[in-house]
């Protein structure tokens, strides 16, 4: 098995050899999923869990958009509206986007670095199984007396401490569990990447998805404890009469925001760096041309990660900081546009003079580049502090971060699912159904979020259950878009199930332009990815 493995023929032999070598398959029934330590099973659970959370968070978004379809209070009381916006944000950030990326990492990291499994398989099981309980607790509080979290996903004190519903203690506990899960997940990813790469795969030969996830994992390690600290201080303020955030006792509500955003801004990049990695695989594959500037892409990701630690107070320009502080955070924020620009220019140069085809993953990747860049533009506008005073906490901000998170992070996840679907299942999804899904999503996302730029500029605050009459038209359009987008994700479920059930068998390398060790494995990939280290060749990794 020491031969170079990069043809379908050899890959098939390899899989046979593996079973001949006394390898075992998965257990049967529920025990397989409860006790599994297999990276593919855990990756699958992460992905299905995140999809379930995505649907729940999506239903909450549709409840919000139904209420905002017209001025006046139609269906909801304001206190329930606040619970819906809060839980929508929390569930989408911590329950949908982040676990989806961890699921992709579980599936792909061992296959891309040439390892049999993750470095710490039992911890892998634990880090997943914490999540359903964490979100179970959080969602359950919605049905408790006084309701669930209603203070926005940023849970600013003292609204989230002195003035919070009783259930906030459960919320704090749930956040602690999510943090523990994320920390374990990132330790596992770092340990796997640093210790289990196939011989010959030096750091600067690692696939881009591996690079982005390695950096993301370090961001998680750095900031999740900060979040844990913030919620612990809340807990003490609520139950033990401390005054970290209580001005009446000498505390400082603004300190909460500094701590929160010191976590929160790197968190934003945690949700986008792996997306950069995914798109950096898909565009070269369908342009049939290698990534234009591998080295500069790596350095750009590293610079963005570094900058993400020194820009946090741009979320707080209106909080009342000294002029010098405002200027520092304005300049550092504007600076992020430079490495982000480098990435966009690189993707376009990769496409330039390629030989492009437009299968579903490529469509989602191109939409990612265009719409994420638009989110970047509005981000640059928000960095201009005097103008930010007018944008801050309006729908302009809502439009901005949904552009980077929905057609940004989410589209990259969907693109990744279509791209690696044949490797995971051994089947091809239906290309025509995939394209329908793409166009529905693309139209839906823009109809939903583009008008929000306008309502924001016209002065509509965010997180309001009702609004003045001049905002009525844009809100109606936005609500219609939200329903188009929401239902097109049910169609996504159908496309995936249809592919699993009746897709055509996939070859080992279904995309001729795709490179990477994972494509040297047969489709579907064997239960234990590489039991013998593969030989790393320039044909498969960056040379």
């Amino acid at each position: 098995m020491s031969e170079v493995i990069h043809t379908d023929h050899h890959a098939a032999d390899y899989s046979v050899d593996q079973h001949a070598g006394g390898q075992h398959g998965p257990e049967k029934g529920l025990a397989r999923w409860l006790f599994t330590t297999n990276h593919k099973d855990i990756g699958t659970m992460y992905l299905w869990f995140s999809f379930l959370m995505f649907l729940i968070g999506g239903v909450m978004a549709l409840i919000v958009r139904s209420e905002l379809f017209q001025p006046g209070l139609q269906f909801l009381k304001p206190e329930f509206f606040n619970q819906m916006t809060t839980n929508h944000g929390l569930i989408m950030v911590f329950g949908a986007i982040m676990p989806a990326f961890v699921g992709l990492a579980n599936w792909l990291v061992p296959m891309q670095v040439g390892a049999p499994d993750m470095a710490l398989p039992r911890m892998n099981n634990l880090s997943f199984w914490i999540l359903p309980f964490a979100f179970g607790i959080m969602i359950w509080t919605l049905f408790s007396d006084g309701g669930g979290p209603n203070f926005g996903w940023t849970f600013y004190a003292p609204l989230s401490t002195t003035y919070a519903p009783d259930s906030v203690t459960y919320f704090i506990f749930a956040v602690h569990m999510m943090g523990a899960s994320s920390i374990m997940g990132s330790i596992n990813i770092i340990a796997t990447i640093l210790n289990m790469r196939a011989p010959g795969m030096t750091l600067m030969k690692m696939p881009m998805f591996i690079w982005t996830w390695l950096i993301t994992a370090y961001l998680l390690l750095a900031v999740m404890p900060v979040l844990a600290g913030a919620v612990t201080m809340m807990l003490f303020d609520i139950h033990f009469d401390t005054s970290f955030f209580n001005a009446a006792g000498g505390g400082d509500p603004v300190m909460f925001q500094h701590i929160f955003w010191f976590f929160g801004h790197p968190e934003v990049y945690i949700m986008i760096l792996p997306a950069f990695g995914i798109v950096s695989h898909i565009i070269p594959a369908f342009a049939r041309k290698q990534l234009f500037g591998y080295d500069s892409m790596v350095y750009a990701v590293a610079s963005i990660a570094f900058l993400s630690f020194i820009v946090w107070a741009h979320h707080m320009f209106t909080v009342g900081m000294p002029l010098a502080g405002q200027l520092f955070f304005m300049y550092s924020t504007m600076l992020i546009a430079v490495p982000t620009g480098v990435k966009v220019f690189n993707w376009i140069s990769t496409m330039w003079k390629g030989s492009m085809t437009f299968e579903t993953p490529m469509l989602f990747a191109i939409a990612f580049v265009v719409l994420f860049t638009m989110g970047g533009f509005s981000g640059l506008m928000l960095a201009i502090t005097p103008a930010d005073y007018q944008y801050h906490d309006t729908y302009f901000v809502v439009a901005h971060f949904h552009y980077v998170l929905v057609p940004g992070a989410l589209f990259s996840i969907i693109a990744g699912v279509y791209f690696w679907f044949p490797k995971w299942t051994g089947k091809m999804y239906s290309e025509s159904l995939g394209k329908i899904h793409f166009w529905l999503s693309f139209i839906g996302v823009n109809v939903t979020f583009f008008p929000q730029h306008f309502s924001g500029l016209a002065g509509m605050p965010r997180r309001v259950p009702d609004y003045a009459l001049q905002f009525a038209d844009f809100n109606m359009v936005s609500s219609i878009g939200a329903f188009i987008f929401g239902f097109s994700q049910l169609f996504f479920l159908f496309v995936i199930l249809h592919g699993i059930k009746s897709g055509k068998p996939a070859v080992a390398r279904p995309w001729e332009g795709a490179r990477g060790l994972e494509w040297t494995l047969p489709s579907p990939a064997p239960y234990h990815s590489f039991t013998h280290p593969p030989v790393v060749t320039d044909a498969e990794v960056h040379g």
């Binding site: 049939r288 496409m351 502090t385 007018q390 306008f454």
Partner: protein, 380 residues
Amino acid sequence: MKQVGTFASVLGALLLVSRSYADELNMRVGVTDISRQVYDLHMVIFWICVVIGAIVFGVMFWSIVNHRRSAGHEAAQFHESTRLEIAWTVVPTLILIIMAIPATQVLIAMYDTGGEDMNVEVRGYQWKWEYKYLDDNFNQTFSFFSALTTPQDEIQNRAAKGEFYLLEVDNRLRIPANRKVRFLVTSEDVIHAWWVPDFGIKRDAVPGMLNELWTIVPEPGIYRGQCTELCGKDHGFMPIVVEVMEEEAFDAWYDEQVKLAAIRREAISQVLTTDELMHEGEQVYSRFCMSCHQVNGQGIPPAFPSLVDTAVTTGARDDHIRLILDGVAGSAMQAFGKQLDARQVAAVVQYERHAWGNNAGDVTQPADVVNLMAGQYRDL
């Protein structure tokens, strides 16, 4: 010639339509020097983004159309170009520096809070604003609350919505034109944010912190804004309305308010009939209590308890008064001693003890409140 005229008028009409649309589509230019500078910054950065976007996406779509495999394009295999990579790092950096210069200038101008002609303290409460006109002479100061007046019928879709739906208040903040007004922004409970888009100013109202803002408005008029920081249940229902008055009219109004404040102080020591107390109590209740305890006194348990036939409204009266004055720590029940004067507290206690079928059978006068909490009630 006639055709040219028609063409010109059609063009003019189109321009007018697009302009009126532009007001809804774009940031408001506003009425102050600062708001215009902010608008200009917004437009500069917007056009920079548009131009960069047009170039970048233009190149990309040209490539998508021309470098397709279905168009027979073979993939080239070039990669990496140090020169190109330096260019696309340096050029954006230069653009950003060019952009940062005017942004810095405007920001410095916005921070110039000195040399004010008058000071107004803006204090956020769940869910209303208090405006206090500050003066070195205590007898020259006065304050009032400003809360939403849009009727529930309009919010609940039982009546047609008015022109200023959700953007109308009982007492407007009044300031004079052409004078530099400094606002000291703070909060009594959670964080709020005070924003008047037409002035180009917004600042968070943070409990325990005093933030500064200033404006000089050249044009008299009525300007509307909203709270822009999530502050709980009725965050969407605490608008800001500022009436900018001609200087002389403002001065006359100010003197009037100072006199009224003196009369109010006097009124605290009066004895009222039960009818007067009930009538005034109902008004106070609807302004300060109803958003939580509801019009029927039933509240929204458990966050906002019922007042109907409960220990508070049927038990010891002095406890009832203390509860209103001090609030309940760790709950949404605020310390209304800081918001209501003795007469208002007396009236609302009387009302709560005798409305919705409650019948405590006692009479509460302003003096009872003053005696109970001597020195702790609100002076104004």
